[in-house]
């Protein structure tokens, strides 16, 4: 089998050269299908990443009224620390809040600077809580004197986690759907190739070739089509994701999104492996169909 590997590749290439239009159309279809899957998959990956990032942050944020004094802050800190389920507590002053937002905004921080000395942020406590106590801590903190409001990031996280699950499931189904469509596309083109060379394959059999000898070029062709489609989709995602994510970051600067290139690099291997696997499956499908 390995002695003829070069020959099988050459035959796969020869067959593709004999019907370039069909092969190019298949390749474009596969690439677009995988690119579509890449977008859905990237969405799921990104939300999962957000959940991870937000999960590292404080579960409950207790915002303090603007006129709260240092003494009241100290008392509040004691009371919050005494609440059941609180694991950590950190005070963030108005100045620190502004500084943190500046870091989050990065290149957009000029927009904050444009406020010219006005600090729109409240000071707050970041309160680390055990997950099961998050809601109770939030409710009790709300009623403490000097507290302006409470944000329970757990709820946001739960929503994000649900969204992430939905998106990842969606991505999985999309991959399966794309895979099946790819398999049908590749199986069709391989089947046509097998039919066109039926007589040739009969000659192989008369010469004593094994069952794989005749179909190996087509298995390679289908797998390579899938692989090439996966790689092209990967290259296109390297091109498009930075553009898309830079737009998203511009619109939602407070979200800790990853750079588009990083997302494309995370999704790339999935595209390539999916392309290869479903390409091979499509070829095997065509071969079994041809045998019947």
């Amino acid at each position: 089998m390995f002695t003829n590997l070069g020959y099988f590749f050459a035959e796969a290439w020869r067959d593709a050269k004999n019907r370039p239009v069909a092969v190019i159309f298949s390749l474009v279809s596969i690439t677009l299908l995988l690119l579509f899957a890449a977008f859905v998959f990237a969405g799921g990956e990104e939300v999962q990443w957000l959940v991870g990032q937000l999960g590292e942050e404080t579960a409950v944020t207790v915002f303090l009224k603007e006129d709260v004094t240092g003494e009241q802050v100290a008392v509040l800190e004691e009371k919050l620390a005494a609440l059941e389920g609180v694991t950590a507590i950190r005070f963030v002053s108005q100045e620190e809040a502004l500084e943190e937002m500046n870091k989050v905004l990065g290149s957009h921080s000029a927009e904050l600077a444009a406020l010219a000395g006005f600090n729109p942020f409240l000071s707050y406590f970041e309160v680390g809580v055990r997950p099961e106590q998050g809601l109770a801590v939030a409710r009790q903190a709300e009623n403490l004197p000097g507290v302006d409001g409470v944000r329970d990031s757990r709820q946001t996280m739960e929503r994000l986690t649900r969204l992430s699950t939905v998106l990842r499931l969606g991505a999985l189904f999309t991959l399966i759907f794309v895979g099946v469509v790819m398999m049908i596309t590749i199986s069709h083109i391989v089947h046509l190739g097998l039919l066109a060379r039926e007589e040739e394959m009969e000659i192989y059999r008369l010469l004593g070739a094994g069952p794989w000898f005749a179909v190996m070029p087509f298995l390679l062709q289908g797998s390579l089509l899938g692989l090439a489609g996966g790689m092209l989709a990967f290259l296109l995602s390297l091109l498009f994701f930075p553009l898309l994510f830079s737009r998203l970051l511009a619109a939602l600067p407070f979200l800790p999104l990853r750079p588009g290139v990083e997302v494309a690099l995370a999704v790339g291997p999935v595209l390539v492996v999916t392309g290869l696997l479903f390409g091979l499956c499509g070829s095997l499908l065509a071969q079994s169909h041809a045998n019947h």
């Binding site: 089998m1 000659i203 059999r205 008369l206 070739a209």
Partner: protein
């Protein structure tokens, strides 16, 4: 090499192609099967190559019983055999060299050795200057010689040839006779279906006559004995 006893072949449409064929061919022997068109020569060769199954009798080729042979047995038999078909069965769009080399590719012979052997055999059949020509551009006679080269390049144990000189001029028949003779020197058993007396004269061998699906042994050209 070949043992046939009471072999018959009836096609699905009821045509009785062969009946009561008893045949013994020893290793290295040259056997000509002659007879009119439709006498069953091609059917006999098809049975020997496992392309058809006998409907009655026992047929064993190279130790493989073809009556109950599985796909793997047939494949094994074909790998031991070189065959020249009446319609050549060459692959169009490929060169003469590629067609001949395919025979060894199937056996997994590395390309460097394959190329060397294929070129040598093409030279032997007088096609040294046509190795790079696409087979569809070759004349019928040249195609026939490519088909013969493809059969012998693998140095098979059994060589089956169906009308290998049907389209050839006297010089080319000489090439074929020489190739068959060299195959004999290598101990290759040869069964040749032909009605070309030039070949029989150039390279004597045992002659069998197929008539109405029955096989008769001919002791010499023009003399016929019941087997």
């Amino acid at each position: 090499m070949i043992h046939a006893r009471g072999v018959a072949k009836v096609y699905e449409n009821g045509t009785q192609a062969l009946q009561e064929i008893d045949l013994q061919v020893a290793a290295g022997e040259l056997v000509y099967v002659v007879g009119a068109s439709g006498a069953g020569k091609t059917t006999l060769l098809k049975l020997l190559l496992g392309m058809e199954k006998p409907t009655a009798g026992e047929l064993e080729v190279a130790g493989i019983s073809l009556g109950k042979a599985q796909a793997e047995d047939i494949r094994r038999l074909r790998r031991l055999t070189g065959a020249v078909f009446q319609d050549f069965k060459l692959i169009p769009g490929r060169t003469a060299l590629e067609n001949v080399a395919l025979s060894l590719r199937v056996l997994g012979v590395p390309w460097s050795e394959n190329r060397q052997r294929s070129l040598a055999v093409l030279e032997e059949v007088g096609l040294a200057d046509r190795v790079g020509s696409m087979v569809q551009t070759l004349s019928w006679g040249e195609r026939q010689r490519v088909a013969l080269a493809r059969a012998v390049v693998r140095e098979p144990r059994l060589l089956l040839a169906d009308e290998p000189t049907g389209n050839l001029d006297a010089t080319s028949v000489g090439f074929v006779a020489a190739v068959l003779a060299r195959a004999g020197e290598k101990g290759i058993t040869r069964v040749v279906a032909t009605h070309d007396t030039r070949l029989l004269e150039m390279l004597p061998g045992r002659v069998l006559l197929l008539e109405g699906g029955r096989l008769h042994q001919v002791a010499g050209a023009g003399r016929k004995d019941r087997q």
